[in-house]
Symmetry: C3
Subunit: 137 residues, 3 copies
Amino acid sequence: MVTYTDYLTINTKKRYEIVDITDEIERFRAKANLSDGIILVSAMHITASIFVNDHESGLWQDIMAWLEDLAPRKSGYKHHLTGEDNADAHLKRMLLGHQVIVPVTDGKLDFRLWERVHYGEFDGQRPKRILLKAVGV
Amino acid sequence: MVTYTDYLTINTKKRYEIVDITDEIERFRAKANLSDGIILVSAMHITASIFVNDHESGLWQDIMAWLEDLAPRKSGYKHHLTGEDNADAHLKRMLLGHQVIVPVTDGKLDFRLWERVHYGEFDGQRPKRILLKAVGV
Amino acid sequence: MVTYTDYLTINTKKRYEIVDITDEIERFRAKANLSDGIILVSAMHITASIFVNDHESGLWQDIMAWLEDLAPRKSGYKHHLTGEDNADAHLKRMLLGHQVIVPVTDGKLDFRLWERVHYGEFDGQRPKRILLKAVGV
């Protein structure tokens, strides 16, 4: 049985940014020598998301505009009484979810054509970590 | 240790539709001969969801109306500049999530009375695939 | 290989409430004797959530106000024709998600400083169950 863990660090240039991390996950799979099982991909900071969607820059802009509409950056959040200014990031991260399970079959990520794993950053410009854990054979 | 994978294909009659797939998952569990562990149920197309909720047609209508309210089908999405017309489906699928882990204990789906696994289709009328993967003993 | 299952029961005083269950999950990990793998934490009732976010009471209030804004408690839901009055709870639970995978590495929950697992109750004041399942070594 295989259990194997590693961590990615991402430091985005912008406060809000989407990054495709699928190739990093495939590199991790090879390092873990996982041929069948699952890979947990989980954001370790509570202002970031992991989600599976299309690698298409227009859609990425739609996603960011939509998140801003449903969970706007604004003053007035009670969380800001602590001195923070990122309550919107905590909410946005929950809309998209903070983790994904990637299936692995026959030594490959078991994805259809358009499935790509993305990191969604909503409070960036500093190093943030992502956990990768393989479980299987 | 058991690892076992299979795929369902669903072709809905309508563009937007909810389908209860719990019985298919139990059939898969039996085929996988999984007595304790987890089953990953994951939509392989990026315009569909997997979620656990009540099998109740009034609630299903509420869910669809609510999704349309929060992520409406409309023109103006940047994703449509590629020729697509389904940006709303990409957003709706993220609100409900695209995968579920079903726990299996003592050779049964470890669910309480009202827990049912649903497939949410937001761009249907063509064959779409769902991955099922068992990991455990 | 370890597979181990247990259940928590939570009975909140209020209809809507957030409860930090991270310490209970660490107790479960120790009982399961899991040193590397995953713990599935899954709400067994369809009007409750499991999510990872900051243990900060201002943020918890922001989350509840935000959920009420996006999925309000109101009359008019079709689900209420069955005699129920909790359609909003079914929707709120989907916004935050109903399950989380907790990674375990070196005999500890593999979390960064601010990651805490929360139970979100949207139709409480009665006993509700949460499933915990360990898979790994």
